[in-house]
């Protein structure tokens, strides 16, 4: 049986992309698999009784060492903000390439806490900062110092002691460029070092909370139960900064989605599956219900999605446990077709993620295909013709061509970079100033403009001649030739429409990171949790691959 890859015109719609969930392909899970046999160490832990100071953690294998350097600082409550406009944080972190010298630590002590206005060097790989969830952190310190474990319900509800508000890499603020490290085998997967930073930060938060409790009452204090630690992750507040990334990296986006689609296709094509695989799949679906019922949010938008997800997952569970016969041929294809017919988008994508759980041999090789050498596809093939380009657009952007950009609602918004914070923002072009400085993120509108221009030109005209008079469309001409080779490289939706829900763009990216429990705080930012339930560093060697559902 040959199953076709799913249609990009359906999958690349924002509402669908905004329904994606973590899976075995997610970067934080592939990071854990890659680094499970690395030696983990706490190299330095020099904090005062209040938990302020410096700590260093490392992962080592042979001659390679990655060190997380943590700077924990005192800040006042009124200075604590998750927004990108903040200038102080409870803790700041950088991942250093190698073992840092005293001189390195001294240099970084002056720069890392300043974050965006500090300067890093090629020896640093990633940069981040985080704030305490004060309510939780204080409660945990209080309980531990009295010799008690904290209230598990409260901890489960929040899910973390700290939340990061940005994680930077790839050359930002002087950090090492990707090209310097891209050939290292252990980071042959997107965002692997960002994931390492977050994972080690998680351990720092446990060590810090234990340390503060111990200093508060050395006689009675106990350490946080490792089982509780395991159920805590790292929170993250994410705003619009992430959204343009998926537009600006078309081949990378393609590779992420293509790997997911290829995994699904190969699983659907399996003629027979064994009982071990069936049981693991059923168990993951069953256990995953807890992930949905413990998903806390006040967002009506998300609550609505969760309600229908829960209803449909229960319906699916009932179907596979009581009605479906896994012994028939191509069982996962039948299941997928049933999902399409019977459940909502959120549930379809949720189960697609779960379908990958029993099939590591299908998923694992795909992880190495998720990076992209973007420069390779940058040049426009200028000897191609207007006819070629028209045909590509008609085939690959057919839904986009149906959008009427004469209607105000279809070009109401514009993306710009804030002068104050150099961060992407979204505004109403009819009510705010600045649309003349719009960023090139309105791909649908510009593709349609390009298509209309092409219609008036001779089909045999070469691109090198067309480009000369149409330089303002050069950026989308490049993209159209990219999508010809990379079918999932483009969001098949209007990113400047009145009805745009930007968090759909964020959720797509965060699902590939491996985030859980999306908690939208508005249509432009959300909170998530990473590594909740993940093995602790001392458990990495033999951890359960399905930890997400335990």
């Amino acid at each position: 049986m040959n199953i076709k890859l799913r249609d990009p015109n359906i999958i690349m719609k924002l509402s669908r992309l905004g329904s994606f969930h973590q899976s075995r392909l997610s970067f934080l899970r592939s990071f854990l698999s890659e680094f499970k046999d690395w030696e983990y160490k706490k190299d330095l832990f020099n904090l005062d009784e209040n938990g302020y100071g410096i700590a260093v953690y490392s992962f080592t294998k042979k001659d390679r060492v990655y060190s997380l350097i943590c700077f924990a600082n005192k800040i006042n409550d009124e200075e604590r903000s998750d927004r990108v406009i903040a200038t102080k944080w409870d803790a700041a972190f950088t991942l250093h390439d190698g073992i840092p010298t005293k001189k390195d630590i001294q240099r970084l002590k002056n720069e890392v806490p300043k974050q965006e206005v500090g300067r890093l060097s090629y020896k640093e790989l990633t940069l981040s900062r985080a704030n305490k969830s004060v309510r939780i952190f204080d409660h945990v310190v209080e309980s531990l110092s009295k010799g008690l474990q904290p209230n598990s319900d409260l901890l489960e509800k929040v899910g973390y002691l700290y939340r990061t508000t940005a994680v930077y890499g790839s050359g930002k603020f002087g950090l090492a460029d990707r090209f310097r490290i891209k050939d290292r085998e252990e980071i042959n997967g997107p965002f692997r070092l960002e994931m390492m930073l977050v994972y080690l930060v998680r351990q720092f938060t446990f060590d810090q909370v234990n340390h503060v409790a111990k200093n508060k009452n050395p006689k009675t204090a106990v350490n946080l139960d490792p089982k509780i630690c395991k159920n805590l992750g790292i929170g993250n507040s994410t705003g619009l900064g992430m959204a343009p990334f998926i537009v600006n990296h078309p081949t990378l986006l393609n590779n992420w989605i293509l790997c997911r689609e290829t995994a699904l296709k190969e699983i659907r094509e399996l003629k027979k599956v064994n009982s071990k695989e069936i049981n693991l799949f059923k168990e993951c679906v069953r256990k995953s219900i807890k992930n949905i019922t413990s998903w806390n949010t006040e967002s009506e938008y998300q609550l609505y999605k969760i309600k229908y997800l829960l209803k449909d997952v229960r319906k699916f569970l009932n179907f596979i446990e009581n009605e479906f016969n896994f012994q028939k041929e191509h069982p996962f294809n039948s299941l997928y077709l049933w999902l399409e017919k019977e459940t909502c988008d959120e549930c379809i994508e949720y189960i697609v993620s779960l379908m990958m759980e029993p099939f590591g041999e299908i998923v694992q090789p795909l992880i190495r295909e998720m990076s992209s050498d973007e420069d390779k596809y940058f040049d426009i093939p200028s000897d191609r013709t207007v006819g070629d380009l028209r045909s590509i657009i008609e085939k690959k952007y057919s839904n986009i061509l149906n959008i009427d950009f004469e209607q105000k609602k279809n070009y109401k918004k514009f993306w710009f970079i804030s002068k104050n914070k150099e961060e992407p923002r979204l505004a109403d072009r009819f009510e705010e100033e600045g649309s003349e400085l719009e960023q090139p993120l309105a791909i649908a509108r510009d593709i349609k403009k390009l298509y209309n221009k092409l219609l008036s030109k001779n089909k045999s005209l070469k691109m090198n001649k067309f480009l000369f008079d149409n330089s303002e469309l050069r950026h989308v001409i490049r993209r159209a030739f990219i999508i010809e080779k990379f079918p999932y490289s483009e969001i098949q939706d209007n990113t400047i429409s009145e009805s745009l829900v930007p968090i759909d763009m964020l959720r797509l990216k965060l699902s590939f990171f491996g985030a859980l429990k999306f908690d939208p705080r508005s249509d432009k930012w959300l909170r998530i949790c990473m590594f909740q339930g993940a093995p602790l560093p001392n458990e990495l060697k033999y951890f359960d691959e399905q930890w997400v559902y335990n």
Binding site: S121, Y122, S170, G171, K172, F173, G174, L175, A176, D177, R178, F179, D375, F378, D379, I380, S382, D383, I417, P440, M463, N464, K465, L467, F468, S471, E472, L473, R474, H475, V476, I477, R478
Partner: protein
């Protein structure tokens, strides 16, 4: 030290800010990144050029021919670079093209470097006494010794070098002979047994 990622992003935004389209700004940014990667003063010269661009006008060229001369002013290295890049497959046939008066010729180098990669040939870029060889977008060789890169190229030649060896047949044979000292002379027994196929394969 600024990272190449910062150099690319800032160059792109600055190029857009002086009036280039986003698509051309992307080309410039890739070019400045390449220059800085190769240790050439891309940022410095881009800055100098952009401080002139609002005060003076520069010429564009849509169709590039064997000999190209601006009507009155200097050629803009960016528009010229983009035009050469877009037309490179037809220009290659000309083997050599000439230009008069290009401002900030260093900004043309990354476009030629990428052209070299596209056509799979080295490109020689020469003006006045300065020579550059663009090697398949892998590196740029130059005889320029002065720190300051000339801000003007008056008489420019771009030559598409045919792929040929840089050594003589005699030099090659000499080296090959030396390499033969790693081979084993085959005995009759080795002839029979050491290869995969038989001595005769008429089946």
């Amino acid at each position: 030290m600024k990272s190449l990622s910062e150099i690319e992003t800032t160059s792109k935004r600055a190029s857009r800010a002086v009036g280039f389209s986003w698509g051309i700004a992307e080309e410039v940014a890739k070019g400045v990144r390449l220059l800085e990667l190769f240790g050439l003063p891309g940022i410095k010269n881009l800055n100098q050029y952009y401080s002139l661009i609002n005060k003076k006008k520069f010429e564009n060229l849509s169709i590039i021919k064997k000999n190209n001369k601006p009507k009155k002013l200097f050629f803009c290295p960016i528009f010229l670079g983009v035009s050469i890049l877009d037309q490179i497959k037809t220009l290659e046939i000309l083997k050599k093209i000439n230009f008069k008066k290009i401002k900030y010729p260093i900004l043309l180098l990354p476009f030629l470097s990428r052209c070299s990669n596209i056509i799979g040939k080295k490109i020689l870029f020469r003006f006045e006494n300065n020579t550059f060889i663009l090697n398949f977008n892998l590196n740029i060789l130059s005889n320029l010794k002065k720190k300051e890169f000339p801000s003007v190229a008056k008489k420019v030649e771009i030559i598409f070098l045919e792929n040929k060896d840089s050594f003589t047949e005699k030099e090659w044979k000499k080296l090959y002979k030396l390499s033969e000292n790693t081979f084993v002379e085959e005995t009759e027994s080795l002839k029979k047994g050491a290869a995969g196929a038989g001595l005769t394969d008429n089946d």
